[in-house]
Symmetry: C2
Subunit: 258 residues, 2 copies
Amino acid sequence: MNKLLEVFRNSSLDDYAKLINESIVKREILVLIGKCSVDYTGRGESRLTDGDRVLIIKSDGSVQIHRPEGYKPVNWQPQTSVIEARVVDNKLVLTAIRDKPREILNVVFNEIYLLIRGRLTDNGEFVMYLNESDIRDLIYVNPWLIEDGLHIIGKEKDLGVGAVDLIGVDNKGKAVLIEVKRITASREAALQLYKYVEKYAKLTGAQPRGILVAPSFTTQALDTLKRLNLEYRELDLKKLWLLKKRNMGGKCGLDQLL
Amino acid sequence: MNKLLEVFRNSSLDDYAKLINESIVKREILVLIGKCSVDYTGRGESRLTDGDRVLIIKSDGSVQIHRPEGYKPVNWQPQTSVIEARVVDNKLVLTAIRDKPREILNVVFNEIYLLIRGRLTDNGEFVMYLNESDIRDLIYVNPWLIEDGLHIIGKEKDLGVGAVDLIGVDNKGKAVLIEVKRITASREAALQLYKYVEKYAKLTGAQPRGILVAPSFTTQALDTLKRLNLEYRELDLKKLWLLKKRNMGGKCGLDQLL
DNA sequence: TATTATATCTCGGGT
DNA sequence: ACCCGAGGTATAATA
């Protein structure tokens, strides 16, 4: 199994360059650890002076350069059309070019500590639960979560200024527009809902109710909602979660750890 | 120099667990390549079945799990309060826990191909050019970029509904609010500007001009601007860039490569 | 292709 | 600690 991965250290620069270029052609994964500086130009422009970093090239040509700290890479390239390694002035230079937008990443290695390359096989299935569309779907099926007597009649309805998450009719026959957020709703969310309410009123001539649904709200959001005559419902994610799990047979998580 | 990094393969599970826990205590960087499955729960919840991945733990306790493709990690933890490796049922289990928000990442390794650990030293300086604040500052100093006779009198002025990028006075003495975008301005950007214009009018009793400044505009943005009686200026980033470079002595880039 | 909205967004700066 | 807005955001969905 370990033939999967090759490890190199103390190789010559020319050998490193060759190893890298081979890996890219073979669409292997490549991890390069060493001291380097990085220049980037494209949508913006950045310079990073010498330091120890971990560089990863994946089989799709994406590149990321990680410093010893921080979740995010300091420099990167989501996908590239060209990646090339070569030796210039006794240094290993790696260039990754991307089109649309045209961007160039240039890495100069002053030292290479380690190179790992190999083919990884990953056919794993990834499932994400309880994203916004999950919540929307749950409310769609269980409108009582918002209020009794509510009938949902539409999902992701485009009003010409973007799509409102849910449209329904309350027990008095009045239209209800619902905007769903899975995290704390900010003022922006309230404004987004207002935009739909305004547009709907203009399109139909009838004033709808607007309800912002979220697990919590910033004070500014609440102010704005009040000012714009909009409603809100606090949503208990845990409750939704249980509802979802019940539908799935109760086996979708390790939340007992929480 | 290579004593910086240690490489292990074919070690026992217990040894791997020990190596990992040691690294975490010593705040080293750790790269683990192997076949694993991943469970995450916290703000959301996800499951990832078996496959080959690259796991990185950095000195700040951030964790990321990379599949062979894609720029982004499939699972991650920006920072963690606790990371622990242990052997359970003849498998290496790595748990990373984060508080606020409470989130748990659980990785079960069925095979470990390679473990690399070591201390990296990175004192490099990172500089980013031409982000939004750069553009704002350039306009601040060179208001003629927007129009002749404009005087900028404020930057990042908080109006109580967020801060407007720039405030100025035109050659007729009328207030001008400027919102800057470094990428194509969308309808949202127009609405953002409108929000400031409305608020300013309410605060002062005088109707200001509103100008959206961006390298380009979506058609919806232009529609919205027209409807809301707002203005816009197309901004040539390259021109700004040259302006900036001239100020810096002409040496801040490799854009000649573009 | 262009545009929009989401994201386990992350991250920094402000109050 | 909350809140807001930028991001080289990336990414998926949609027209």
